[in-house]
């Protein structure tokens, strides 16, 4: 064993210095090594510089600058030009805290534009001068349009066929109403076919007449525009047509449901006709209706020029209900006293008695089975 | 056999069928549990609206009268105080905000008289 004294004496003589060897890694290396290269952010073009569409104006993290006029923004907030023009950085009074960059289409154009000024817009399309190429471009169809062609032609043919059928029926009937020359008759039939189509769409007879006249005048104008007729010819043709129209409208019109020609009635005559028919119909109210009566009522309701589609439906439900009301006493019987042939027993809830009751109805009550 | 683990045993007193209804109702939204809207005919709807309109007119009239009365009460207090300004002592006295206008010490009315009907040495 050494004594403490002897050691300290020894140290004083030899002077030993302690050395620490590196036994542990230095701290901090882990994060320091993660440094990435700069992302090269910032504006790529400056105020007043010219840019073409798609050119990048600004790379940024978040929207330091917002895309203004004629600029777009990418998913990493890159701002790019949408139109060729000159870059302008500006503030927008509608968003006072934002900076904007926009592309002005003209060098001396300032952004933002006044709110109520019209926009400056670029057209950008170039005309095809080669005729063959232009024709090709014009006749180009989308797939959707191409696939629809077959159906469209079919519909067109059907319409033409339908018009043809209408004109032949009108041609057969026209002489019963007015005497016309052949030229006039063709015009008249054309007019009546158009009138029919308009009346079917709930135009009044008078409106349809006027519209057809106007159509003819426009077709004359079209002929004039294409130099097929002169101005004088136009005036004479027009006057001729108006006279023909007056003559025709006075005597004949089309019934929309039967597609037949009928005698024209003015609005007073029509309302008189309506009242007359309603009076006749009232004679059938609360009575047993035979199958002949039913036919007669149907005929009355569908009298030409009297009622429109909605009115006809209302009248049918009023005067030809599927089951006659119980107020028609002949159609009601007491089921306990036996059921006549064809009769039916109906169970229904009585509001006043507050219970279900049984009522017998004879077969005459069921108009829909007549 | 499949045995479901039950953490707590159900402690409801209702029987199974009632409980089933309760469960079904709990799954329904509140709006479906509302009583059905009465369907009125076109005429009756107008009648209903007319009755509502008349009731609204009547209750508006009542409210207006009430507001008018309160306003008049306020104005008469105001005028009285204005007049009192000529007599400063009275004005000061009237201005004193009486904290408890109703005596807090007063007994609550009971069916029987109190054991000690009168406190002779009462001090506030």
């Amino acid at each position: 064993m050494f004594s403490v004294n002897s050691i300290t004496k020894g140290l004083q003589k030899t002077s030993i210095t302690q050395v620490r060897t590196a036994t542990k890694r230095a701290a901090g290396s882990r994060t320091n090594k993660n440094d990435s290269a700069g992302r090269r952010l910032g504006p790529k073009v400056f105020e007043g510089n010219f840019v073409s569409p798609g050119q990048i104006i600004m790379r940024q993290r978040g929207t330091k600058i917002h895309p203004g006029e004629n600029c777009g923004i990418g998913k990493d907030h890159t701002i790019f030009a949408l139109e060729p023009g000159f870059v302008k950085f500006y503030y927008d009074p509608f968003h006072p805290l934002r900076k904007y960059v926009g592309v002005a289409l003209k060098k001396d154009y300032t952004l933002p534009k006044d709110h109520f000024d019209p926009r400056l817009r670029r057209f950008g399309y170039v005309e095809i001068t080669d005729e063959a190429e232009a024709l090709k471009e014009e006749s180009r169809m989308s797939r959707k349009e191409y696939l629809q062609q077959a159906e469209l032609t079919k519909k067109k043919q059907m319409r033409a066929h339908h018009d043809q059928a209408l004109s032949t029926t009108f041609q057969e009937q026209l002489s019963q109403f007015v005497e016309l020359s052949d030229d006039e008759a063709t015009l008249a039939i054309e007019r009546l076919v158009n009138n029919y189509k308009l009346i079917r769409l709930d135009h009044s007879i008078e409106d349809a007449n006027q519209q057809s006249t106007f159509n003819y005048i426009l077709s004359l104008k079209s002929l004039l525009a294409n130099n097929k007729i002169t101005q004088e010819e136009l005036t004479t043709l027009k006057e001729k047509y108006i006279k023909l129209a007056e003559k025709l409208d006075r005597d004949v019109t089309v019934d929309f449901s039967t597609k037949q020609l009928t005698k024209y009635l003015n609005s007073e005559q029509r309302s008189a006709l309506r009242n007359d028919i309603k009076e006749k119909l009232n004679g059938f109210k609360n009575k047993v209706i035979s199958s002949e009566d039913k036919k007669h009522i149907e005929q009355l309701i569908s009298t030409p020029l009297a009622f429109n589609k909605v009115e006809r439906a209302d009248l049918t439900s009023d005067y030809l209900p599927s089951v006659l009301p119980e107020s028609v006493e002949e159609t009601v019987f007491d089921p306990e006293k036996g059921i006549p042939e064809g009769g039916k027993v109906i169970t229904k809830y009585d509001n006043t008695l507050r219970k279900t009751i049984k009522i017998g109805r004879t077969k005459e009550a069921f108009l829909n089975q007549l | 056999m499949f045995k479901q683990f039950v953490r707590f045993k159900s402690i409801s007193n209702t029987n199974a069928s009632t409980q089933k209804v309760v469960n079904q109702l709990s799954a329904l939204s509140a709006s479906r549990k509302q009583p059905k809207l009465i369907k009125l005919s076109a005429q009756d709807l107008i009648k209903h609206q007319t009755i509502q309109n008349a009731w609204k007119l009547y209750s508006d009239k009542l409210a207006r009268e009430n507001r008018k009365m309160l306003k008049e009460q306020y104005e008469s207090i105001y005028n009285a105080m204005e007049e009192l300004k000529q007599f400063p002592e009275l004005f000061e006295a009237a201005k004193d905000d009486v904290k408890a206008p109703f005596p807090l010490e007063m007994r609550i009315p009971t069916d029987f008289p109190p054991n000690q009907p009168w406190i002779y040495n009462y001090e506030k």
């Binding site: 073409s52 569409p53 060729p84 023009g85 289409l105 003209k106 709110h115 109520f116 000024d117 019209p118 926009r119 400056l120 817009r121 670029r122 057209f123 950008g124 399309y125 170039v126 005309e127 232009a134 024709l135 471009e137 014009e138 180009r140 158009n194 189509k197 308009l198 769409l201 409106d207 006027q210 519209q211 006249t213 106007f214 159509n215 005048i217 426009l218 079209s222 004039l224 525009a225 294409n226 130099n227 027009k238 108006i242 809830y349 509001n351 | 005919s41 076109a42 005429q43 009756d44 709807l45 107008i46 009648k47 209903h48 609206q49 007319t50 009755i51 309109n53 008349a54 009731w55 007119l57």
Partner: protein, 339 residues
């Protein structure tokens, strides 16, 4: 039931049963009976009768107040208020009966209906498609403008058009019927209107930009509450020389060319005129609507718009109007700058 609804009304002596000063159109129309299975709520008729009396008395007071009022707008408001609780009027409004626009109560109802839906749609379309400010700086409509093309025999288009929708060229080849529903014309007076239809998207190849063309222009058109539309009858009268208005640009449909932009906007504006005007020297090919409005001191009161693009019917309509075949543009937009 039916009887009570109609006449606590007829038999009564109140203002709502008196049609000597009030219009017949305030009477209930097309009243429909209940279904056979329907039950009325108990005692509703008794309550209705007394409610009717209360409201009628109130109405009478409002009528008396209206007589003392001088200002037109206030008077109109009171007259509308006096009838607004009338069950007959309410029935007509709520059951789709025809409403007489000359009656203040119906007019106010229609105005509110217009403001709550059609006007909102219109303003949305005008703003989204940048019709304002590309044409006029802005517009605050006070007149409901409706447009339809009555010549069409195809049921799909036999209706008033919705602002902003795409219309085919075969539909727009004839001048439209334009209906102007005024709401603040209290006395049913005739007022003078101008109508223009412009297309701000006509290509201008010299500047590689666009110009505005005038496609239809009408002025000095006198319309009131009841005579409210420019329709075929009036066009025919104009054609026959018995003109009631002047047409400074006859109708020429918008006929977009192939690939000339996504769509072209047809913007129809209605202006109220302070007096008769004589429009001359109009450059329809390059029309400046703002200076037009300033020159003739017009105030825009309404408008509508639709869109059009090239379709297969364009060439036919072009030949009908004696126009040459339209230009064809490349499908791809080129990056040439504005000139």
């Amino acid at each position: 039931m039916l009887r009570i609804f109609k006449r606590s009304l007829n038999s009564g002596k109140g203002i709502w049963s008196n049609f000597s000063n009030r219009s017949e159109t305030l009477k209930v129309q097309n009243i429909k009976p209940h279904a056979a299975t329907y039950h009325s709520p108990l005692l509703i008729d008794d309550a209705f009768k007394s409610a009717y009396e209360i409201l009628q008395q109130e109405s009478e007071k409002i009528y008396q107040r209206a007589q003392t009022v001088e200002k037109d707008d206030l008077k109109d408001k009171l007259l509308s208020q006096a009838e607004s609780k009338n069950p007959e009027v309410l029935y007509n409004i709520q059951n789709g009966n025809d409403l007489d626009i000359t009656q203040p109560v119906y007019r106010n109802h229609l105005k509110k209906q217009w403001e709550n839906y059609d006007l909102m749609i219109l303003m949305q379309r005008l703003e989204q498609f940048k019709v304002i400010p590309d044409t006029l700086p802005t517009i605050q409509p006070t007149v409901d403008v409706k447009v339809k093309f009555p010549h069409i025999t195809n049921g799909e288009f036999n209706r008033w058009i919705v602002p902003g929708e795409f219309l085919p060229s075969f539909l727009t080849k004839q001048p439209p019927t334009i209906k102007l529903q005024q709401f603040d014309n209290y006395k049913n007076e005739s007022k003078l209107f101008s109508i223009v239809l412009i297309n701000p998207d006509e290509p201008n190849l010299e500047t590689n930009s666009f110009k505005t063309t005038l496609n239809f222009g009408v002025s000095n058109l006198s319309l009131s509450l009841t005579d409210d539309s420019l329709d075929v009858t009036k066009y025919l009268k104009y054609e026959n020389g018995s003109e009631e208005f002047s047409m400074f640009k006859s109708y020429e449909p918008i006929l977009p060319e192939v690939n000339a932009g996504d769509y072209q906007r047809a913007c129809l504006f209605v202006f109220e005129q302070p007096e008769k005007i004589n429009v001359d020297q109009i450059n329809a090919e390059d029309f400046d609507i703002r200076s037009f409005v300033n020159n003739y001191n017009l105030s825009p009161v309404g408008g509508t718009m639709w869109r059009q693009k090239y379709d297969r019917s364009v060439n036919d309509v072009r030949s009908e109007y004696g126009l040459s075949k339209g230009r064809v543009f490349h499908r791809v937009r080129k990056p040439f700058p504005l000139i």
